[in-house]
């Protein structure tokens, strides 16, 4: 550990606001990059599964009717 | 069958290129507005700068190379976006795409015609605009020559954007977004040449760079344009 204590680490010799804001912005962008496709994939997977289930039910109904 | 010599292959292609060029030139000259309007646009935008920056001749002279080149770039943008639109809409582009002659060649003819009608006239009229901004007379030949070469570069780069966006409705603004970053080297070379000429430096190396850009573009860009046109036709 380079810093003596936590408040020193946050202040960073006066450069704290710059360093931390840079890291926070980067973190937000990275989270956005990761979350967007993951959410989109999950949503698609849910839709396709629902479609499959509906198709299966229709097939079952057809089988019973005949 | 005897092996065909080089001239036997090249000759008909040159005839085709010339024919296409004449076709586009004629159709361009039939509407004189298409030649005059970019020049009017240029005069009007140049007029805006003294109004916006103040009439101080010293400051205007300093900024003249940059202003003239940025306006040249903008006027090229506004004319480029209809470059292939006519041929695309009336179906001649599809005919050219399946013609035995390469599409690259006919698109090059279109770009060259555009350059001859807008770029060359612009560089001929450039001294007038230079005078409006107080550019020293000694710098005029460099201004004209740099615009002559530079407008060819701009027309070539613009033709790629035009080919990519020809099938898109309201593609004009999109074309600017695609093409402006690619214009950057041309702008820098052109402005540097004129600035060097103002301070009696040697603009030759910048003009050489413009020439190199134009030469490479003449060879490579028609290939990209023909690929892009085929995509636009299929879409």
């Amino acid at each position: 550990m380079y810093f003596e204590n936590l408040s020193d680490a946050i202040a960073m010799g006066g450069h704290g606001p710059y360093v931390w804001s840079a890291y926070v912005i980067t973190l937000l962008v990275i989270l956005g990059l990761l979350v967007t496709p993951i959410k989109r994939g999950r949503e698609l997977r849910r839709q396709i599964r629902a479609e499959l289930r509906r198709k299966a039910q229709v097939n079952e109904g057809d089988a019973r009717a005949s | 069958m005897a092996e065909r010599t080089n001239t036997e292959i090249v000759q008909p292609l040159m005839v085709f290129l010339r024919g296409q060029l004449m076709r586009h030139l004629k159709s361009g000259l039939r509407r004189p507005g298409e030649v005059a309007n970019p020049l009017l646009f240029f005069v009007m935008v140049v007029t805006l700068f003294p109004l916006g920056l103040g009439p101080d001749p010293e400051r205007l002279r300093e900024m003249a190379p940059g202003i003239l080149w940025v306006v040249a770039l903008l006027s090229n943008l506004t004319t480029s976006h209809r470059l292939f639109a006519g041929d695309f809409e009336d179906g001649s582009l599809e005919q050219l795409a399946i013609a035995p002659q390469p599409l690259a060649l006919s698109s090059l003819a279109q770009t060259l015609a555009h350059w001859l009608l807008s770029g060359v006239t612009l560089s001929l009229a450039a001294p007038l605009f230079g005078l409006m901004l107080g550019l020293p007379v000694a710098a005029m030949p460099t201004l004209m020559f740099s615009l002559l070469l530079g407008s060819l570069c701009l027309a070539l780069v613009g033709s790629v954007g035009a080919a990519l966006t020809v099938g898109i409705r309201r593609g004009g603004l999109l074309l600017s977004l695609l093409v402006i970053p690619l214009y950057v080297p041309v702008l820098i070379f052109g402005v540097s040449a004129v600035s060097e000429a103002i301070i009696d430096g040697s603009p030759a190396r910048w003009l050489a760079l413009l020439g190199a850009f134009a030469a490479a573009g003449l060879v490579l860009i028609p290939l990209a344009v023909s690929a892009a046109l085929r995509i636009s036709i299929d879409a």
């Binding site: 010799g13 396709i48 479609e51 | 690929a227």
Partner: protein, 246 residues
């Protein structure tokens, strides 16, 4: 070797393979990012000239490096898609454009924040910053062009042509911006000094560069998988795979 290349072109194989890669790569990337950031923020010594503000280097440099490399990867994918008509290359190309734009954005913003305490200004028209801004425009152009086409197959091909033209142009842009800068700025502020970096700073930097490359790959694969699912809604291989996951 060639069998892998051929398999890459097959959607079912790629879907399964990318799922496996992501499952391993994502935790590694997160770990590397966390370790690299904590190392850079807390354990690396302060720079004796810039103080602690230099710690931004651990995100600024990796983002810039990967953003530039990403454009070449995108253009390469574009070339593959145009020449060999491999559909996966289409997907890769359109998956890269937003990642590249985001990384370029990170590089620009962190650069601006770093500039304020170090040179006293948020923004200067320095050669490297200007080039980076133009790179952002190039990425956004590809994103915009892709969005403008209704036919997404044609959109991918058009973006391939654009990214190839951009790739040829990038070295010319960089060189010309360099000359432009040296012409106007007689080196009053020197950004590119000869400097050797101490191992205590170099190791976390290398770690972060690796992490950003991994992040780039992960996000690219995630985007490609989502597109693949959207395109193959009714494909039997996808149905089997999704039902197996339950």
């Amino acid at each position: 070797m060639w069998s892998i290349v051929h398999k890459m072109g097959s959607p079912p194989w790629f879907y399964r393979f990318s799922g496996l890669v992501i499952r391993w790569l994502l935790p590694i990337v997160v770990l590397l990012l966390v370790v690299g950031a904590i190392w850079g923020l807390m354990f690396a010594p302060a720079d004796f000239k810039q103080g602690n503000s230099y710690r931004i280097i651990f995100i600024h440099v990796p983002a810039s490096v990967v953003a530039l490399a990403g454009y070449y990867v995108m253009a390469f994918a574009g070339a593959v898609s145009l020449i060999w008509k491999i559909k996966m290359a289409d997907l890769a190309m359109r998956a890269i454009a937003p990642v590249g734009a985001a990384l370029t954005f990170i590089a620009l913003v962190t650069g601006a924040i770093w500039g304020k305490p170090t040179w006293g200004t948020w923004w200067v028209w320095d050669a490297r910053i200007t080039s980076m801004l133009i790179l952002l425009f190039l990425y956004l152009g590809v994103v915009a062009l892709f969005g403008a086409y209704d036919n997404k197959v044609a959109a991918a091909k058009a973006c391939a042509v654009l990214s190839l033209v951009g790739m040829v142009n990038i070295p010319i842009i960089y060189k010309s911006v360099d000359w432009w800068y040296s012409l106007h700025q007689p080196a009053s502020i020197k950004f590119t000094g000869e400097s050797t970096i101490d191992p205590s700073m170099l190791y976390p930097l290398l770690l972060m560069i690796a992490a950003f490359y991994g992040l780039f790959t992960t996000v690219m694969l995630l985007n490609m998988r989502a597109d693949l699912m959207a395109q193959n809604r009714r494909a039997s291989w996808l149905e089997r795979d999704l039902l197996g996951e339950d």
